[in-house]
Amino acid sequence: MINNLTENNASIENPISLVIDMEGYEGPLDVLLALARKQKVDLNKLSILTLADQYLAFIKKIKEKNIEIAADYLVMAAWLVYLKSKLLLPKEENNDELSGDELAARLQWQLRRLDSMREAAKKIMTRNRLGMDIFPRGFPDKIKFKKNSVFNLSLFDILKAYSDFNSRSKKKPYIKKRLFAHTMDDALKWLSTIIGSPVPKWELLVSFIPESIISNQDKKSAITATFSASLELVKDGKVVIQQDKEFSPIYIKNKLV
């Protein structure tokens, strides 16, 4: 119930006007704590019934002054009436609700908690404070920064710069070198040896690349062309190809019609 109260409060747009309305109190819990203090007992021994009566009297007094009362004060008043009835009536059996005593204890705990924070606030604010009671060095020597330049430069940059510069100075004409390529036509030619072979036999696809092709660069071109060519032949129904799994060797076999 009290939990709900704070949520209700959150909807109040301007608590300042509320403070003025309610004789300087900051919310119902604040009023209750002030009334509790008037009982002049340890908050642990507080009479919640008395407190509830005092609160209701306070609200009545405000009402008589024709002051508009913020909703949360009225909610608290209604809740205290309910609490009073729970405390005074015999305990209901088999009821899941908190008993009057439990609700009272909870309210008392909330009041003690708020009170403890008020006390703590006072203790904090009376401490020796920096810039008010104790002071730091007013005019410290400046920390001097020693600038440490690190150049963002790699050996590659230097080599690149040097070669760029060399290239620039030598001004060699650019000659496009024609590269070797194993064409698909070439590949078909090499693969055709398998077609018409009387005894069909699985053979490695790469074995159909001419041995004269040595450099890696050229080999890549040859593999690509040979593979494409083999697909052509499969399409034409001349050969079958097979691969166990990804990246494993590809085999090719003559298909007997």
Binding site: I2, T6, P28, D101, W109, Q110, L114, M125, P136
Partner: protein, 190 residues
């Protein structure tokens, strides 16, 4: 002995130049490796204990500060701080003792909605900082206190807040009333 004096001189210079409290780690970065910094801190503390400035432990480090009894001499240096409203002071205390804490939890303790500017003001003063988000619906932000708060109020750490141990022991800092809450029937029913 000469070595001691040398280290003490170095530490004096470092402490005098620092605006913020220095941790042992901060000091060790600038001092010879083979020394026991704690010992030297104690030596300096003693050396300055009767001086107009003292070496004090604050905000997790050490710092030279003027002796509290001499504040009357330092009117001129007094920084003008904005007067905080009662609500702001109370909110600061609640945040300090209950951190990390959400706005809704602060409102629950005070029994009243927090006006918009209160936490902002405390954050502007650098006393209150964000301390992550609560693992709860809506993941509300949580607030806590900063090193500047500790420094300003001369606290070494949050555990040094006045009376925090007793409050913890009595369960007043827990979010819910203790289970074995004592209801004093006789007294409630008068």
């Amino acid at each position: 002995m000469a070595q001691d004096d040398k280290i003490i001189r170095m530490m004096e210079a470092i402490f005098f130049a620092a605006v913020q409290p220095l941790s042992e780690e901060d000091l060790s970065d600038r001092l010879p490796d083979d020394i026991n910094i704690k010992d030297y801190i104690d030596k300096i503390k003693i050396k300055y204990s009767s001086c107009g400035v003292n070496l004090i432990k604050v905000a997790g480090g050490w710092s030279f500060r003027t002796a509290p009894d001499l504040s009357f001499l330092l009117e001129k240096e007094r920084t003008v701080t904005r007067r905080l409203s009662r609500a702001a002071i109370e909110t600061l205390a609640i945040i300090a003792y209950h951190q990390p804490i959400t706005r809704a939890e602060i409102e629950e303790i005070r029994g009243v909605a927090l006006s918009k500017g209160t936490v902002d003001l405390l954050m502007e003063a650098n006393w209150v900082i964000l301390k992550g988000r609560k693992k709860a619906p809506g993941r509300p932000v949580m607030y806590g206190t900063s090193n500047e708060f500790l420094d300003h109020f001369g606290l070494d750490n949050v555990g040094d807040l006045p009376g925090i141990e007793e409050l913890k022991a009595t369960g007043l800092l827990s979010p819910e009333p203790p289970q074995n809450i004592n209801t004093n029937d006789d007294e409630n029913q008068n």
